[in-house]
């Protein structure tokens, strides 16, 4: 019984400590450069700003794909330079690609990072459930004596 209480208490404390740690980290944006095709594992949701510059008349295709839902978030045939933004609605891997004849690089910056609602629900749910269970166990033990 004590082991169960220790596990529950640890879960509650860890859940509480997770938020300040994450708050510190999320203020820093993620910056990556994409040459041809690349997957990026983003540890939070956010907004991805894409920008590339190429000579006028250079045509290429930019594509952002979300393997979680199997949807293409952005697919555009561009000539010249390009600026765009994509909402990354969940954490996890995303796939970025540039299809082109001449080499074009795209810079990706993930800004406005925040934990998504689904993740927050998991944290609040698990934390609250453990706290509630712990409280019930303590109450029952207190009553017996």
């Amino acid at each position: 019984m004590r082991l169960l209480k220790a596990v529950l208490l640890s879960v509650v404390i860890m859940t509480l400590l997770v938020f300040p740690i994450e708050k510190n980290v999320l203020t820093q944006p993620i910056s990556e450069v994409i040459l041809v095709e690349q997957g990026i594992i983003v540890p939070s949701s956010g907004i991805a700003m894409l920008s590339s510059s190429a000579d006028d008349g250079t045509g290429y295709t930019v594509r952002v794909f979300d393997p979680e839902s199997g949807r293409t978030l952005l697919e555009r045939n561009v000539t010249g330079s390009f600026r765009g933004r994509v909402m990354l609605e969940h954490s996890g891997p995303y796939y970025f690609s540039v299809r082109t004849m001449t080499p074009v690089t795209i810079a990706v910056r993930v800004i406005n990072r925040y934990p998504s609602v689904a993740v927050l629900n998991i944290r609040y749910g698990l934390g609250a459930m453990s706290a509630f269970l712990l409280a019930v166990i303590l109450l029952m033990e207190g009553r017996r004596k």
Partner: protein, 256 residues
């Protein structure tokens, strides 16, 4: 033996160490996961991208780096030293070991309960930290854990780590004169491979073979086979031998 294990698992000192390990490991895993953004190369149609993404999210499952291993080894050493040496120091052992049970069965049940506690204190916060970050991509996480075979290999990974730390600490605890000396000895011996950068001893070898097996092989069975193949001697055989020596020593050595 069952009563002994139950008694050790309920011991408040052990549980305080357990909570220390759980919370510290959880925080370290979590901050390690939030601050890294992994980049990986993929070329191919969408189905290949999905399975590669699942593999790469599986490879981000929290493992023991330098910081995490320090806390993990400290927790294991504290648990085992407290269980095996503290009651001998305080004299409680006289009444425990005078019961009609063989010494080695008492030591074995203590080592087993240390393994259970350390295993729980590492795998629970690891999954908790993982789901607290990647819980909103359930399809990929499920695919990685079940179809890509990460769940079995990951549990095996922790079993090996726990087995190594606990059996080495048990051997040291049987050899050294008191709690303090055994604690220092355990931490030193567990930390030596890390300082000397010995890639052929745990934790490096278990971590490397896990990564290599999952990054290069394609089928779950091949992955687990490759993982076991690379880490069998140091990850399973060596700890079992050390635990065996500790049990033999416990029969030879007097209680105090």
């Amino acid at each position: 033996m069952r009563a002994q294990i139950r008694w050790e698992l309920e011991d408040p000192y052990n549980l305080i160490v357990f909570m220390f390990g759980f919370i510290m490991l959880g925080i370290t895993f979590f901050s390690g996961l939030t601050s890294n953004d992994t980049v990986f190369m993929i070329v191919g149609p969408d189905s290949v991208i999905v399975s590669e993404s699942a593999k790469n999210i599986g490879l981000t499952l929290p493992r023991l780096g330098v910081e995490e291993y320090t806390i993990f080894a400290l927790t294991g050493a504290l648990l085992v030293s407290l269980m095996l040496r503290y009651d001998r120091d305080t004299g409680v052992a006289k009444s425990v070991y005078s019961l009609p049970v063989r010494n080695h069965s008492v030591v074995l049940s203590k080592a087993l309960s240390a393994m259970v506690l350390l295993f729980l204190a590492s795998i629970l916060p690891a999954f908790l930290a993982f789901f607290y970050i990647y819980g909103d991509a359930p399809n990929l996480v499920k695919k990685a854990l079940l179809e890509e075979g990460f769940l079995a290999g990951y549990i095996l990974y922790w079993v090996m780590m726990v087995l190594y730390v606990v059996s080495l600490s048990a051997l040291v605890a049987m050899l050294f004169p008191n709690t303090f000396a055994s604690l220092l000895g355990c931490i030193t011996l567990l930390y030596v491979p890390l300082v000397l950068k010995l890639r052929s001893l745990p934790p490096a070898i278990i971590d490397d073979t896990f990564f290599k097996a999952y990054a290069t092989q394609f089928y779950p069975a091949d992955r687990i086979a490759a993982f076991l193949d690379g880490s069998f001697y140091v990850g399973l055989l060596l700890p079992v031998v050390m635990l065996g020596i500790a049990l033999i020593l416990s029969e030879w050595r007097d209680v105090l």
